[in-house]
């Protein structure tokens, strides 16, 4: 009986288990416990939530291994961590720490402005951000086992996540309606491998789980993303930059499961106190937009 680790099925399967759930950004063990108690399916361990990265500026990097290990020790749910785009050594470090998923993330400062990490090289699965279908398929071609729409992290403004989900969904629907002999040009236009384009055209969905991220701050935001076809939701700054994190976290979990039941979303939205203040994406100067990182 031979046991094979790190297969595509094991990597993509891990993401399947997270479906219908909320993955929460946490910066220490206490926050990780709050997230687990609120019903998070996983936590993302990082040193600063995107809103603080935005406010403080400077180069944002992989987190301190000590901090990641403390969070791993504090909770029983999966722990994810972020590596810079193209920084394969940070990814190797995270793999050596046994994190459960690596997010090759535009929220950190990119280490390579041309290449992403060759994710096939790793036993640990990767999630990558995408703003459109071509970008998603390029990441999958590099070995990503899960995709998340990027949104605009650290803003509390859901409009970019909405735009990316509509774009990805719309491009998938367009492929599904094409004649087979049109898919070659579609692949050229999407700048994505023909085989993956053909697979999406046939199945009508991405070959991996699609979560959404970036600017989700309320239960209604989470439900909106599920209604747009997301398999689940990442909430970054939205929880621990709000007035009552434990309650807001639990409310977002409920709204994600019962996204198509407005009464449950309404009940979950009651008395949550202050949401994160937020920034309108339209007010962000273009060089400060994280979603534009990655190519």
């Amino acid at each position: 009986m031979s046991e094979v680790k790190g297969t595509g099925r094991v990597k993509r399967g891990m993401a399947e288990m997270l479906k219908g759930g909320v993955i929460m950004d946490v910066v220490n063990a206490e926050q990780a416990k709050i997230a687990e108690d609120a019903g998070a399916v996983a936590v993302m361990a990082l040193e600063r939530v995107p809103a603080d990265i935005r406010a403080q500026g400077g180069v944002a990097r992989m987190s301190d291994p000590d901090m990641i290990e403390k969070i791993q020790a504090a909770v029983s749910i999966p722990v994810m961590a972020k590596a810079r785009i193209g920084h394969f050594v940070e990814a190797q470090v995270l793999q050596s720490l046994n994190v459960d998923y690596i997010d090759e993330s535009e929220v950190l400062t990119p280490a390579d402005y041309e290449n992403h990490i060759d994710k096939w090289d790793f036993t640990i699965p990767f999630v990558c951000g995408a703003t459109n279908l071509g970008e998603a398929l390029r990441r999958i071609n590099e070995g990503a086992a899960m995709i998340r729409s990027k949104g605009e992290a650290g803003t509390g403004d859901v409009s970019n996540a909405m735009q990316h989900m509509r774009k990805i969904g719309g491009e998938i629907r367009r492929l599904s309606s094409m004649r087979e002999d049109e898919l070659y040009v579609a692949a050229k236009e999407l700048q994505a491998p023909y085989e993956l384009v053909k697979e999406v055209a046939q199945t009508g969905k991405l070959p991996v789980v699609l979560f959404t991220a970036g600017g989700i701050a309320t239960p209604a935001d989470a439900a909106l993303m599920m209604a747009m076809g997301a398999d689940g939701v990442f909430i970054g700054s939205g929880i621990f930059k709000s007035g009552n994190p434990a309650q807001r976290a639990a409310a977002c979990v409920k709204a994600t499961t019962f996204w198509n039941d407005a009464k449950v979303v309404a009940d979950a939205s009651r008395g949550l106190g202050e949401a994160m203040v937020g920034i309108n994406v339209a007010d962000l100067p273009a060089p400060h937009r994280l979603a534009d990182r990655g190519w």
Binding site: M1, E16, G20, S76, I77, Q95, F258
Partner: protein, 198 residues
């Protein structure tokens, strides 16, 4: 027979597809009113702490417990196995289960994601050929009570068990497109159990 899939969180879609391939048109169960409609239930893979918590908040914990006690056939994969277990090790503080299956399950027993694996295993009751089993941060069964039968093991740890009307696997047959375990649940576990209740 009406089969439900507990649809609070996890790989619900894969179990639904597997059941459809077995000729069953399953229903999603998120509320007590939907539970009442079903004769048998599948507990999917997912995060057991999240599923247990949502089940409690939305009033499904006790109704599912009493249905199991009254003989409702249930199959649980991975998180579903944890939810069926009478007791769990390495649990989150205060983590609840539906219980009913007299086993002790260790959560994440095979390790973190880096240790997740695929293996061809023998499933000894009614499935003569090897089964491709996918283990993801998988639990194993540490102790079994009387009346519980081990159907498959990995490195001498039980990974598939059944008692009369309950079946649990720590792997995910719903991910492989091989529907023998689902068919086994329908034909060998659920149907006989429901006949008996009648």
């Amino acid at each position: 027979m009406k089969v439900g899939v507990l649809a609070l969180q996890g790989d619900v879609r894969e179990h639904v597809s597997a059941l459809i391939a077995c000729g069953i048109n399953p229903v999603h169960v998120r509320r007590p009113s939907e539970l009442v409609e079903v004769d048998a239930l599948i507990l999917p893979g997912g995060e057991s702490t999240t599923i247990a918590q949502l089940a409690e908040i939305f009033g499904l914990l006790d109704p599912i417990k009493s249905r199991i006690a009254a003989g409702m056939p249930v199959y649980g994969s991975c998180a579903g196995m944890i939810l069926l277990a009478d007791s769990i090790l390495d649990a989150k503080d205060g983590q609840k289960t539906f219980g009913g299956l007299d086993i002790t399950v260790r959560r994440n027993a095979f390790g973190r994601q880096v240790d997740s694996f695929e293996s061809d295993i023998t499933f000894d009751d009614g499935c003569p050929d090897l089964i491709k089993a996918v283990f993801i941060r998988a639990p194993w069964v540490e102790n079994i009570g009387p009346g519980v039968k081990v159907l498959a093991s990995v490195d001498s740890h039980p990974v598939a068990v059944r008692s009369a009307h309950l079946l649990a696997t720590s792997f995910h047959p719903e991910l492989t497109g091989d529907h023998r375990i689902h068919r086994y649940f329908i034909e060998e576990v659920a149907k006989p159990a429901l006949e008996k209740v009648k």
